[in-house]
Symmetry: C2
Subunit: 334 residues, 2 copies
């Protein structure tokens, strides 16, 4: 069993590769819910949506979010009714939000609702929200405190950031199965997601960091930072705001209490050497995922490093271990 | 001021004519909410929707319900998620249900929500739900008691009907403005809607029948029955189930305690004579509305009879009174 901690965008790409490399039944995903929002009165969980869509073959790979081929007529009609339209929910995508909202209104937990929706969509991997309690990522800016989606989607992450906090985290509990999945996995993979606002909320849930420190398998993170910039999105800005360098050293620092292995881009070979000198295992790989082949190759490489562990003392080796099970491509696609 | 009691389908056609004949600012519509349902967790008010859409120029005249040119991709996606799809909500139409549901969840009344939505859509007529309390039309059949939409839309009104009741009616209050609109109107028009399940729920709200009996203006009803059949839908079946003949005599009987004037189809001239012999004022007109011209002509005729009252003793006269204000066509269309 492989456990993956993930956000939406970069994480979804990584998971898209992973599902080609190991049977989806062997993947448990622990997903950030710090971005969740009430939108038009519906409960939207953007990262759970992206991970559910990628595993069911419904994700729009062009946009990286939402349902492929979706239309936006309800959004347009909401605009005509004077309602906000900055968060782009497609017509097909609305079905997900409507069903989840109804299940929650009926008293189901977010975990229950997620499992029920995954069953309906034929998703065979196990998707767990980080918590069934509400933990909200709040971004403090000179214009006031914003929700993550306000900061990221509505305002295009143009505001300077003072700090980030996770409201509700101290009272939250991990969702059922989260700690067990981390503790018992053959490897725990941290997707190339934003360390502050995608992985950070998961780590803020009491018990999760302890579980990562006590995990039976190796904990391996893929860096979302190449050189001194994020591959996409505001990770760099937010790391800086939280006092971390925007580099693989910053990523290593964010995860330092539990990280066994960091996978960074081949362009960071020199920075990798510096980290190794401090005692961290670091492997370089091609981490930019442009094509389906890139995704599969990265997933295979990360898995082989995390499961094998034998290559930890071979700096800069890019050759993955063999011996991974051969699975049919897109096995999870209904 | 003209007050109209109406349901959705036949009522919407009648209102479509009426808005061409008098300025929409001079129309108050009291609308059936007995068909309202929770659909996918959203509060849907089918008759308020149809009346709102017709007055805003958004109604699909082809279907007679929903938004013109709408698509049904969310519905399709809901089906893929295993959710029911028998009630056809279009993608644009969903915006109405989302907004109304959110306003109700925030504590607004159905009246408030209706007014706010009408303002957004530029509707200048005043639309009042019959009540802000929940009054549910329940149809008793050999298969059990059904909501009206289950009986009508889901099961195509194929079940034999034992009886109809309006659950919650005895505890309901008329929505603000309903009684005042009836009492003070220059004429009260009862649209050619189903007397049992469109007008019946309105009449079941305590105080409404009394207001109709005490109305300052004439109360005129347009018969939805021609000969011994309903122009559309299950009105005939339901009238029979409620012990009324399926004829203009049955319509007259349903409204007997307050009706001043019945407008029936020219094909019912003989039945009209029989009713007149019993002392009811009856006028014949072309009541089948196939074209925009049919709708306008019927509205003009009904208004002239209801406002004039002078023709009451001229049996079978189809000549409307002159003297109605000339208004621009489609004045309410944004």
């Amino acid at each position: 069993m492989i456990c993956v901690l993930t956000g939406g965008t970069g994480g979804a790409k990584f998971v898209d590769g992973l599902r080609q490399v190991i049977p989806p039944e062997e993947i448990t995903l622990i997903v950030n819910t710090g971005d969740d929002l009430l939108w038009w009165g519906l409960y939207v969980s953007p990262d759970i949506d992206s991970i559910t869509y990628v595993l069911s073959g419904l994700l729009s790979r062009e946009r990286g979010w939402g349902v492929k081929g979706d239309t936006f007529l309800c959004l347009q009609a909401m605009g005509q009714l004077g309602e906000p339209t900055w968060f782009h929910t497609g017509d097909r995508d609305l079905a997900m939000h409507l069903l989840r909202s109804r299940l929650l209104a009926e008293g189901k937990t977010l975990s229950d609702a997620t499992t029920m929706i995954c069953d309906k969509l034929g998703v065979k991997a196990r998707i767990l929200p980080m918590s069934d309690s509400r933990v909200e990522t709040r971004v403090d800016t000179p214009s006031g405190e914003l929700s993550f989606e306000e900061y990221f989607v509505q305002r295009w992450y143009q505001d300077p950031v003072n700090s980030v906090r996770f409201a509700g985290a101290s009272d939250a509990e991990p969702a059922p199965g989260v700690l067990e999945a981390i503790l018992s996995a053959d490897a725990v993979l941290i997707a190339p997601s934003n360390p502050i606002t995608s992985i950070g909320p998961i780590l803020s849930v009491p018990g999760v960091r302890e579980a990562l420190r006590g995990a039976r398998g190796k904990v391996a993170a893929v860096s979302p930072i190449v050189g001194n910039a994020a591959v996409a999105g505001p990770a760099g800005i937010l790391m800086t705001a939280q006092g971390l360098p925007c580099s693989i050293a910053g990523v290593a620092k964010a995860y330092e209490d539990f990280l066994d292995l960091l996978i960074c881009d081949t362009r960071d070979a020199r920075a990798a050497d510096a980290l190794r000198a401090n005692g961290l295992r670091v492997q370089c790989a091609q981490t930019i995922m442009r094509s389906a082949e890139d995704k599969t190759a990265l997933a295979r490489t990360v898995l082989s490093y995390a499961l094998g562990g034998l290559l930890a003392d071979e700096p800069n080796s890019e050759k993955p271990l063999s011996g991974l099970p051969a699975v049919p491509a897109a096995a999870d696609q209904p």
